[in-house]
Subunit: 330 residues, 2 copies
């Protein structure tokens, strides 16, 4: 498998150098692997920090900026960042109003963010943490106890970020983040495995003519493998898997997410089918986002995330955001 890299060992550092050169509005500490809003700490503002293994871009580094994250800590590819990165990030963004850690539910991330929270508190930084665990596909898997954190991370970071930008106190930003996670569910499908730089080949074998339903964002095993399905059949399966677990009493936010290598032409066609299924199930979609946001390197496939959103969450969703990966209203 060919990759656009120098050597596997420098992939993350190279990408950070590239981000630094492309985004003068961010401060990128390549050596310590922390990406911070240039204007941090913003006086009086709660700091939002997230992070996780690299390979899911634009998540998380591409979501640093006005109205979303204050800092992100990228680990090696599909490997948790270390507590030292998280403590540095917290120190860089804390204005005295405290810091919220947004943690996807993978064992390494959870342990390291826990340790970082303790270390940061030792340094006098008030820290709260919210776990994202929206993936309905499987309970307990290769990297996770419980449900995995996937697409809902974007919703949590956007909505909590908007509240923090408005000056909400830590307690409220944390409560909102938790509410968004609790109201969100995801389901993903892989048409191909992804290629990690270290391995240089596919992370798992997916035979021609088959797809994997309920895949995670690291090529972890899903629910089941089946003969290839049409876009419409995949939409039926994915939306129903989400709705089995989420009673959509309110209108929903919808994320139709590409895993990396699926062309936008196909992803929009898939969205047409998701939209059809939701209409058939009488689910009212208030806002829609279609694109590659929470990816798995060069994996072909897609995921569907729904978030029940009341007026307050919709207002915060609509608030201005200005990051490399998500931007509107400003």
């Amino acid at each position: 498998m060919k990759m656009l890299i120098n050597v596997p060992e420098t992939v993350v550092a190279d990408a950070l150098r590239g981000m630094a050169a492309a985004h003068p509005e961010l401060t990128v500490d390549v050596e310590n692997r922390v990406i911070v809003r240039r204007d941090a700490p913003v006086p009086g503002k709660v700091g939002l920090v997230s992070g996780g293994g690299s390979g899911h871009e634009p998540l998380h580094g591409g979501f640093v900026g006005h109205g979303m994250l204050d800092a992100a800590c990228p680990g090696e590819v599909f490997t948790s960042p270390v507590p030292d990165q998280m403590v540095r990030a917290a120190a860089a963004v804390d204005s005295g109003a405290g810091v919220l850690f947004v943690v996807k539910n993978y064992t390494g991330d959870v342990l390291n963010f826990e340790m970082a929270a303790e270390l940061a508190e030792d340094e006098g930084i008030q820290v709260a943490s919210v776990l994202v665990n929206d993936d309905v596909a499987v309970t307990d898997s290769l990297y996770t106890a419980g449900r995995r954190g996937t697409g809902a991370t974007l919703f949590v970071e956007k909505i909590a970020g908007a509240a923090a930008e408005e000056g909400a106190p830590l307690e409220r930003v944390e409560a909102l983040a938790r509410r968004v996670n609790d109201a969100s569910r995801s389901f993903g499908v892989a048409l191909s495995a992804c290629t990690t730089p270290a391995k240089g080949g596919p992370t798992f074998d997916l035979p021609p003519g088959e797809l994997e339903l309920g895949i995670g964002i690291h090529g972890e095993p899903g629910r089941e493998r089946r003969a290839m399905m049409t876009s419409g059949e995949i939409a039926d399966f994915a939306v129903d898997a989400v709705l089995e677990d989420l009673d959509p009493r309110e209108p929903v936010l919808l994320l139709v997410n590409g895993m990396g290598a699926t062309p936008l032409l196909e992803l929009y066609g898939f969205h047409a089918e998701v939209h059809r299924v939701l209409r058939e199930r009488r689910v009212d979609v208030a806002r829609t986002l279609v694109g590659n946001y929470v990816t798995s390197l060069d994996m072909a496939g897609c995921s569907v995330t729904l978030c029940r959103a009341d007026e307050e969450l919709l207002r915060l969703w609509d608030a201005p955001v200005a990051t490399p990966g998500l931007r509107w209203g400003r």
Copy 2:
């Protein structure tokens, strides 16, 4: 090759249904294949229309909106749209101030846009056309007489779109578009072929361990095939190919573009190398854009586009834009 589709015959129509459902700010005529700004025609404003084969998303449909295109006409995958689409688009966006066609230099597109210009003028619409032909890799190729139009299309559409939004008359919008094209050069590299829905397999054979230098956006042959190179070597080759043909007397706009399946992690790493080469060549980069903008379905690879930009072009580049694929300042 697996694709996230229903059947090859409906791929473009399905994608348009998906765009319609995702973007209420656009009017998408699925049957006639025209995507128009919801507020068109904007009184007194020159209308910008582009189009071309599908498979290059977000180009062009994703660039319809405030500050960029007024309408786009998508053809079948890698196939020119027909004159009827272009005339419909022109009629939908003409406020009386005239319409500019932005045409990538492929034989089918050129012929069809020429015919459409005649038909639109018969209907009393004033039409000007600008040809985009920025690709330095080859002269004359599978679909083209002369140079191919690739990444510079984004620069032309953004800058001419900003001028039109400001109320510039047709003559000036046309002159600006031509100036941007004349000041732009591109060079692309493929690590893998792309898969078209009709063929269901790779459009050409690229053996493991080899890459194609000077590729087009339809998998047309490039300049040469070589053993796989590092990201840094590819950056040296691509930037030098561009600079051989473009004396960068002014600062430049830089587009580091992914062909579709190259992960953002790799693309940012590649950008770090492009940035290094430009620094070594003493080229002053004024603005940078890194991402998948002018794609070739699921092709892995990248392209580099430079545009010499004086103060006026930079000001128009920075002007607000609000489209599905490009958005800032608003």
